[in-house]
């Protein structure tokens, strides 16, 4: 279920979004806010996948709001006035909706957001926090090239950084990562789909390295690798 929140100072606009979200199967509108500061407080505690945000609210400019969001969220701007629409593009928003918009146009915006969520390549950066010898380490999952298991330890091979050794099982690590992006390919290896250059002879090429593809993982891996989404 994809979680969404809507912020707009006009009640009718929120009602439209609620109605439209309920017509989809994937989007769950968790909350509606007409006060931006309440929305901000909520979002600090409860990150969501998609944020519907009115660009021109008198109390808080939607664009300023998007800049002070605690984490990057996929934003779909809404506006009644076309002159503000361009600013939505300048800000890395997924889409902007010019009110009034049809359900079909709304679906287009949602589909675009879903595409970005699945591809993992976007405004959404995710971090994992790991306990290491010297304390806690925060790692951007986009930097992970592949993960190698060594008995009780894991070695995270990272992009442009020294590898990180952490005491954890493959299973625990796998649970921390996005299942759309990270796949188990071998008893001792987890790889991110987006970093794969090619697969040949049961070897997965990532950067200069070759990672073996285990026979019991082959089928599910190829399915995930070839899937269009």
């Amino acid at each position: 279920m994809i979680k969404a929140v809507a912020v707009d100072d006009e009640l009718p606009a929120l009602e439209i979004l609620q109605d439209f979200c309920s017509r989809t199967e994937e989007i769950q509108l968790e909350k509606k806010f007409n006060k931006p500061t309440e929305a901000l407080n909520y979002l600090k505690q409860n990150p969501v996948d998609i944020l519907f945000l009115d660009i021109n609210m008198p109390s808080l400019n939607g664009i300023e709001f998007s800049k002070i969001l605690p984490q990057k969220t996929n934003i779909i701007f809404t506006t009644a006035y076309s002159e503000y629409a361009v600013e939505g593009f300048n800000l890395d928003a997924v889409d902007y909706l010019l009110k009034p918009f049809t359900f079909r146009r709304f679906q287009q915006a949602i589909d675009k957001a879903i595409y970005f969520l699945k591809a993992g390549e976007t405004t959404v950066t995710s971090f994992i926090t790991l306990r290491v010898n010297y304390g806690l380490l925060k790692i951007n999952t986009n930097d992970i090239l592949y993960i190698e298991g060594l008995d009780d330890y894991l070695k995270l091979h990272l992009y442009n950084q020294r590898a990180v050794i952490v005491r954890m099982t493959m299973k625990t690590m796998f649970e921390k990562l996005s299942p759309n992006e990270f796949v188990r390919v071998h008893r001792s290896f987890i790889v991110p789909l987006s970093k794969i250059n090619s697969v040949r002879n049961k070897l997965i090429h990532i950067g200069d390295d070759e990672i073996p593809l285990g026979s019991s993982y082959e089928e599910s891996f190829l399915k995930a690798f070839k899937s269009p989404s």
Binding site: D19, N34, P58, L60
Partner: protein
């Protein structure tokens, strides 16, 4: 020649229906139709009446007072539908409401629009008070709004609409009107008194 210039100036100054208001109202109606609300049809009629007034009546120098009052009423009601309980709006009219007098069209609305433009904020306690009093020969308009946190707007005594209206008042009511605007840090208050012509 002078008459032509005055006419030209007057038509230039006459405010058209505010496009933002038009789109906001269309959005309101859109949401009402999606909800299949009975208020949808009412909203359409209000908007249609407003547009009719602007398109066909506002090119006259003076129109029946009733029509201007209806226009303002429709405007306020549509705005209230957008925000519901979020804002406090009080609107009352006292005195001879069935007066046969005439008034310049769209002469009062810029002050009301201004209150909604600068006085509406879902975050704060928005407070707008509009009062109209009609006596035998005079109309008094009082508009009060609390100012919201300024975002990108510049607060120059209301902007273009009010500046234009001042010019129209001077052209149409010279010597027969009184306009006081009090613009302080937190509040905005307009007081307008007009002589009503027959």
């Amino acid at each position: 020649m002078q008459q032509e210039e005055t006419d030209a100036e007057l038509s230039y100054l006459k405010s058209q229906i505010n496009p933002h208001f038009l789109f906001n109202t269309l959005n309101l109606i859109y949401s009402l139709t999606i909800k299949k609300s009975e208020q949808a049809s009412e909203a359409v009629v209000k908007l249609a009446n407003m547009m009719r007034y602007v398109l066909y009546e506002s090119n006259k120098n003076f129109v029946p007072l009733q029509n201007e009052i209806s226009y303002i009423k429709n405007y306020i009601e549509l705005q209230q539908s957008r925000f519901g309980d979020l804002i406090n709006v009080s609107f009352n009219i006292t005195g001879n409401t069935s007066s046969n007098k005439k008034i310049a069209p769209l002469i009062l609305i810029p002050f009301v629009e201004n209150a909604f433009k600068h006085g509406v904020n879902a975050e704060e306690n928005s407070d707008i008070k509009i009062h109209i009093e009609i006596t035998q020969h005079e109309l008094t308009l009082g508009v009060f709004n609390k100012k919201v946190k300024p975002v990108t707007m510049n607060n120059n005594e209301g902007g273009v609409g009010i500046i234009n209206t001042k010019s129209r008042l001077q052209l149409l009511y010279a010597g027969n009107y009184e306009l006081n605007i009090e613009d302080d840090e937190k509040d905005f208050y307009v007081y307008l008194k007009l002589h009503l012509y027959d």
